[in-house]
């Protein structure tokens, strides 16, 4: 390992609610997160009084209400990482440092929302004041009808297709792989609704090149995980899932998507070499990857930013079942944001832990020992964690 003296953190507990799309559901963001949190704490073999740190997701619930409801009376660390969908893995990176510094012993990271039965994601972005770089979006994006994540990222995908010959079928291969994995996952919202490339090609165009089936789904649900020191984790008697290294970074400029000198440079491009360097592992050692798949091209883009292939080669990388179970590098074995649920990337962390514990049943990657998880948020913030079976 690259820095053997460093104290590593372990993920010792995971919890998820049922993921669903029921219009009549009476879910609240807080209620869903509390349910997932209680499951995660219990899964860790801990009690509420052991949790002394909490890192909630920006805008979905605050630390005070979470710990008050859970009855956590020993909290001494509370912080929120504001990187949109990159926050869960970004929080994990910060939690590992906080644990190493002794500022907390057991940190709860919850997130989730009633994004189907409550205000839809698409409604939350109607007000530019809620967006990263909100004044910029208000003044220079919205007047031209450039109002939603699907449209912001579509221009990157379009340019990538032009510069590198990335094909429509490459985007489709991502959508099809995610849907295929979801068929093996009892908690996936798209289980029982298989999809072929022909289905994908026939789906309606929303923001070229993005069709409806290029887009993540809006769902109700929450997930949580508990992180502690390796020493403590060993006492708990659970299978060890160790954070070998984690990092996060922002692109420049972070608040404006079109004026980056290279439009394809995102935060992950700098976070990934840092994490792989500190972990002392090679890409070839990975058994799986969980990649934040808000839209199909973003998964291809992050394959490149992770360094799994060169810039421009992400399209061919996803061809021929390479990212499917049984392929060279299975990606998002749970079905991802595209076909399991949109739990702001929390579900990617949970699935990685499950793979490393060997608890994935029909979708288990044989002998999974090392995996990578990414987060993508706002206008290209990136986060990455390399996890290993201990």
């Amino acid at each position: 390992m690259a820095d053997p003296g460093r104290k590593r953190a372990c993920i010792v507990g995971i919890g998820e609610t049922k993921y669903g799309r029921d219009k009549g559901a009476a879910h609240t963001n807080l209620g869903l997160q509390l349910e997932a949190s209680i499951k995660a704490i219990s899964d860790a073999g801990l009690t509420r009084r052991d949790i002394d740190g909490v890192m909630p997701f920006q805008g979905l619930a605050n630390a005070e209400e979470i710990v008050a409801n859970l009855g956590c009376d020993k909290v001494r660390f509370a912080a929120t990482v504001a990187m949109g969908g990159a926050s869960p893995v970004g929080s994990l990176a910060l939690a590992a440092d906080v644990l190493a510094a002794g500022r907390a012993n057991a940190i709860l990271i919850p997130a989730g929302w009633a994004a189907f039965s409550g205000p839809r994601t698409r409604e939350l972005v109607l007000d530019p004041a809620r967006l990263p770089g909100g004044v910029i979006a208000n003044d220079y994006y919205f007047p031209h009808g450039y109002t939603a994540p699907m449209q912001w990222y579509a221009v990157m995908a379009q340019r990538h297709m032009y510069e590198f010959g990335t094909k429509r079928e490459h985007l489709g291969a991502v959508a099809v792989a995610m849907r295929k994995h979801a068929q093996l996952n009892p908690n996936a919202v798209m289980r029982g609704r298989p999809m072929t490339m022909a289905d994908y090609l026939a789906s309606p165009m929303l923001a070229d090149p993005y069709k409806m089936l290029d887009c993540c789904i809006e769902t109700d649900g929450a997930a949580a995980f508990v992180v502690t020191t390796e020493e403590r984790a060993r006492d708990l008697g659970k299978p060890i899932v160790r954070v070998e290294a984690a990092a996060a970074a922002q692109p420049h400029p972070a608040d404006e998507i079109t004026n980056r000198k290279n439009i394809f440079e995102t935060g992950l491009g700098r976070a990934a070499p840092e994490a792989f360097g500190r972990a002392g592992v090679r890409h070839a050692d990975l058994d799986f990857a969980m990649i934040y798949d808000c839209f199909t091209f973003e998964l291809i883009h992050q394959i490149e930013e992770l360094g799994l292939c060169k810039r421009g080669e992400g399209g061919p990388f996803v061809e021929g079942g390479r990212i499917e179970l049984g392929g060279e590098l299975p990606i998002n074995t749970h079905g991802g944001l595209l076909s399991e649920a949109h739990v702001v990337g929390m579900n990617h962390v949970v699935e990685a832990v499950r793979q490393l514990r060997g608890d994935c049943g029909a979708r288990q990657v044989a002998n999974a020992e090392l995996g990578v998880v990414t987060g993508w948020g706002d206008f290209g913030d990136g986060s990455v964690a390399i996890l290993a079976r201990g």
């Binding site: 450039y146 070229d208 079109t258």
Partner: protein
Amino acid sequence: MASLTAVGADEIGSKGTGDEFYAWCARGELRLRRCNACREWCHVPRVTCPDCASTDWTWEPVKGTGRLYTWTVVHRAMHPAFMGDVPYAVVVVELDEGPRIVSGMVDCPIEALEMEMPVEVVFERSDRWGDRVLPRFRRTAGGPSGKAKGAR
């Protein structure tokens, strides 16, 4: 199309530099912020110059010409203010001076969009997001034409 869902100017008002930028557009001029200390262009406008930290700016005219760097064609509006406009193109134009600007096209069917196509600015009033005169782009007359090489 009548914009039943246009958003009133009084609801929109800029908290940044938008009012200054659009005041120039209303006079038929495309001007971007340029740093008086290091002479770098800066779009979108900022408080301090990201290149040298100066706060000494001039709104300097640009030629208004550039090329189509990328785009998306919106077939389903995600904001109600634009539902009457679909399909419409959101384009990113790389200006000859360097900065890129988000805009839209006039007199250009969506099938005619081509990467690297030369374009020039025109000004068009819109009430979709506030009531503003916007810089939009049209194909440069007599500009070269060629098929985009990206597979679609």
